[in-house]
Assembly symmetry: C2
């Protein structure tokens, strides 16, 4: 059974002291509850002993005991013989709405995910793929590398974007997250240092933690992006084995790394033996600029840097097409396709044929997506500026979401208040480690307008409660995964 | 960079001394080459220092140095500045046939995999699924738990087979191997003991090793199956956190666990806190008996045992449908669906709709499969008895393959000789740990008759070479994954 030290929990808790009249134990229980709902504390994890957490948080043991008792009462913890207190979920999860999945449950509006409904072309591509399938039915279907014709199509797209690529340099995966997890567990040994951006994409961070990496962070801000100064200090000092980066329309800040900085980073990586794992999931979703960012790996070879690129169509075509890919050198592709077998045996054939058909019209698809995102961005900016004049709302030129500064460290409180109104949002700390980013909130602008407007109505109600420091009312709970 | 200790390599090497006139260094290089080709030594792994391996294997350092030099010459190793000798693949892999995937490459016959070509119904189901898809395109597509209607259909099948099950107790995964990897990394902490059968399914064993488990083995033999005596000694002594079992048409031995033994095992698991991870991938593939085995989990709850069941259609419908499932209690299903997000974000929607359609006619599909397997089994038995009279060939009543006893510890040599003839086979040690099962060979009988007969022709040539102790000729190498 995994367990959480008092120090680890304290760092997750961040700034949690209540502003208003809420009792201390209640506020602590609320914060732990959110950490469980957000998946930041895994179900089945043993919580630290009351005495140790009390010491770490400078509380009385009675306060911690009362908070744990409250969690047990709400169904978020359970005392196990000889194992202390363990995180769990209330029974109501099992009987009510689906905890995770397509819909957040009846009456719940989900603004925690930056996901898109499918383009209509998907249905046509599925029919065409079904017609292509019989040619493959005499094969074993076991396909850990990917259909050659699909690998070729993806390679051709990189070549057309200025990065010459062959089919042997492409591995088809079960989405970008699958690629990230496979690469990290193959390239990292336990205890290796890995560099991540702060904030960053939470599930990628989880994959690095699973691989046993010691994380080193570099900040990305909505104003400044990445800091050359910091990179030039951190890279030599820590010589990370791997760095996970989103240089295009970074999730969640929306920033894009300038060309000179990419080159500098490649040189630093080459000098310090760092593999650059570059997530280009968003790379072709620029809507407020004339050109799209070029593939990061351009020029890497000349500089002696190793770049492994991850791509996917989950944010451009549809999340229901669960395919992505890795671009890397041939040796790495072979190594990854072998290592993969410990986790899964390959990609579905029909799904690959669907993607193959969709890539034929990919430029058209992207143009339509960009137009939708441009509209969604304008709407979200206008609404936020009007409804929440105290927030700092950045404008971005690509991607799916905004990283909003609330002006006060109340993001988790806002997320709890929003839940009470039936709205799920991605609180800032979900995108950092150690409870950072309590002043921030990620707001996706990729949803249909009526969905966004309804969500903002509820967000206003929640914000008013937080501002007026009203005690929160428990509601039906829904687990939040961040996408 | 992962590294291999001299002790670990020695245990993988098993009995490798040459029978004939092959020089010692050559035989050692050959054996290491096979371990790399089989995936038992991962690419990029540092081999032990020459001096240490020489000590462990009681060889002169010159012999080990010569073997490493030979590996470098063949392209299976590379000296890296400051990192010693590292396992790799020859360049020819990159330029020639695909190393892994649907076809083993031109001119290569693959008898290492127990895979089936698809039933023709798959094409029809794909077309029907494409027609159902538009109803899902307005959703996010992000689906880590699985479509409720599919979970219900799978639950109903368990209920019909005598094990009442609800949709909430089912999680849809990306095949059985994905389910096994997810369960092991979620339930096991590093250093936990895990029990496996010997022999067992290699990729499941890899998943346990990845989770950091210390493995404990219990033998399964073609004659006796599982031994009650051993189970009753090993379970109390080691109290494993988890046991991975294939009680139905066990891969590779083909044995099925009797009912009394299942009950006894449940009681032992309840007494010692062991979660039973039961792989029922083969459970409905009995062709030589009147009834099919009932789900293992029946009666577990009354005995206080925790059983987590894994199923899939990869061995009954087609390996190209990359979906499987977990059956477990609701809390575990929620926990797994959250833990999954560190590795991938869910199952493809279209693929799930295909499976949903196929489950409608699943009884018909299974009847046809069983008839094919019955024919394949008879053919393989008759051919083996005629061509290899010295081998001990067991008859089985279900599953896809035979576990043949060669009568001498020459399975790896036979695999190398077969490669030289253009035939891939699954040498016995691939199914064990520490180089065991050198007397055994797994032969699948699920391939079309002409494929089987061509393979057996080549196997005869290879066997004659081994018997006559001819030196082996290097050939185009192909990586073998075992399915």
């Amino acid at each position: 059974m995994p367990s959480l030290s008092a120090r680890a929990l304290a760092s997750q808790l961040g700034e949690w002291r209540p502003h208003g009249t809420t009792p201390l134990y209640e506020a602590l229980a609320d914060r732990v509850r959110l950490l469980i709902l957000d998946g930041r504390i895994s179900l089945g994890t043993r919580l630290p002993a009351e005495r140790l957490l009390a010491e770490h948080e400078d509380l009385s043991r009675t306060t911690v005991a009362a908070a744990y008792a409250r969690l047990r009462e709400l169904g978020f913890a359970e005392s196990l013989r000889g194992s202390g207190t363990v995180a769990r979920l209330p029974r109501s999860f099992d009987d009510g709405a689906p905890a995770l999945g397509e819909s957040a449950g009846p009456g719940i509006i989900d603004l925690s995910k930056a996901t898109l409904t499918a383009i209509p072309l998907v249905a046509e591509a599925a029919r065409e793929a079904a017609d292509l399938l019989p040619a493959h039915l005499h094969e074993s279907g076991f396909d850990p590398v990917g259909l050659r014709v699909l690998r070729q199509a993806i390679a051709d797209r990189y070549t057309a974007r200025g990065l010459p690529t062959t089919a042997d340099e492409i591995l088809i995966t079960l989405g970008a997250q699958h690629a990230i997890a496979l690469i990290t567990r193959t390239l990292l040994s336990r205890g290796d240092r890995a560099l991540i951006e702060a904030p960053s994409y939470p599930h990628a961070v989880e994959a690095l933690q699973h691989a046993g990496a010691r994380l080193v962070t570099v900040p990305v801000t909505t104003d400044e992006g990445w800091s050359n100064e910091v990179l030039e200090q951190v890279m030599p000092r820590t010589a990370p084995a791997l760095a996970y980066l989103m240089p295009d329309f970074h999730n969640p800040t929306g920033r894009t790394m300038p060309d000179e900085q990419r080159q500098r980073l490649q040189s630093l990586a080459a000098a310090h033996g760092t593999v650059l794992l570059v997530d280009e999931t968003m790379a072709e979703l620029g809507f407020g600029r004339d050109d799209q960012p070029a593939p990061f790996a351009i020029g890497a070879e000349q500089r002696g840097a190793t770049v492994v690129t991850v791509g996917s169509v989950g944010k451009s075509i549809w999340g229901g097409i669960r395919l992505g890919w890795v671009r890397g050198d041939r040796d790495l592709i072979t190594r990854l396709s072998l290592a993969r077998l410990a986790g899964d045996l390959g990609s579905p054939v029909l799904e690959q044929l669907v993607l193959l058909r969709l890539l034929d019209s990919y430029d058209r698809v992207l143009a339509a997506r960009r137009a939708d995102l441009r509209t969604g961005h304008s709407l979200m900016i206008a609404e936020l500026e009007q409804r929440f004049p105290s927030w700092a709302v950045p404008h971005v030129d690509g991607g799916l979401s905004l990283w909003v500064n609330l002006g006060a460290p109340v993001s988790s409180q806002l997320a709890l208040a929003a839940r009470a109104e039936g709205l799920l949002i991605g609180a800032g700390p979900r995108f950092g480690i150690d409870g950072a980013f309590e002043r921030f909130l990620r707001l996706p602008f990729c949803h249909p307008a009526e969905h966004t407007l309804r969500a903002l109505d509820l967000l206003e109600l929640a914000w008013n409660r937080v501002v007026q420091r009203e005690p929160l009312v428990a509601s039906d709970e829904v687990l939040a995964a961040v996408v």
